[in-house]
Point group: C2
Amino acid sequence: MLQINERSLLPIYEQIVNQMKELIVKGVLREGDKVPSVRELSATLLINPNTVAKSYQELERQGVIATARGKGTFVCKPAASPGMERERGEQLREQLRRLIVEARHLGLTRESFAALIGEETERYWGESDADRSELK
Amino acid sequence: MLQINERSLLPIYEQIVNQMKELIVKGVLREGDKVPSVRELSATLLINPNTVAKSYQELERQGVIATARGKGTFVCKPAASPGMERERGEQLREQLRRLIVEARHLGLTRESFAALIGEETERYWGESDADRSELK
DNA sequence: TTATGTGTACTATGTTAAGTGATACACTAA
DNA sequence: TTAGTGTATCACTTAACATAGTACACATAA
């Protein structure tokens, strides 16, 4: 379900956060689904339970999942807190600007950049309901 | 010309790299222009010369600037090395994917996302020749 | 009740990267 | 020579990251 790249520059807990959000966007994980427990996921990925816990806490902070003591952790309905949305909206804009700067330095034309956007947008917005075979 | 945010999560040297590339894309810095010396910029920004040197070395690695001992550092013509382009092209795609995942988690529709792209693209591709008043 | 599986909290430790500070070297141009 | 470049190399501090071990609080089922 998840895969950790030891050689990545990204911290493990961030890799988990990113991949979990990607699975949700792809429809592999849906609202109300239970995600693996801290101990289970740590055993699967061969990492420390504390690292998994840190990932879940970050995901909960972002309003992506909700935890219930003794029960488990579950995917939330997409309802970001109002204050959070503004903050992350600005981050999104900033990320986009850096993306454009990179694209220009790579020599992309405005047209080829638009084509790239179109490709990837289609992948993530086109087929909202992916097959859930990855659930194991 | 440049501005460092001490509280940013980004390392100082990366902030310099990003902002320098942004100035070039905006046309404030152009091919052949001399950029501030390591010691001068470190004095202006109140940071260590080593940190500035690290930024310049990274920018040179990316083919953005060229350094000449005893002379100074200058903006290159946009000619990325062939191997570099493929590597960074993949990074660009990966950044774009994460951007889209973020956008969906923020609740953006496909239309509002496209609008955001359009806005920012216009800012960086629209007016290629910005006024150079920032040069001081 | 007991047993098990949840998330959480805490302390401690080792590794790595980032940044600083100081010094020295090599090159260029006036 | 003198001054201004980029570069190199130390040592040091700080913070982030991941790990390890232990313990606590809660929910559920036997």
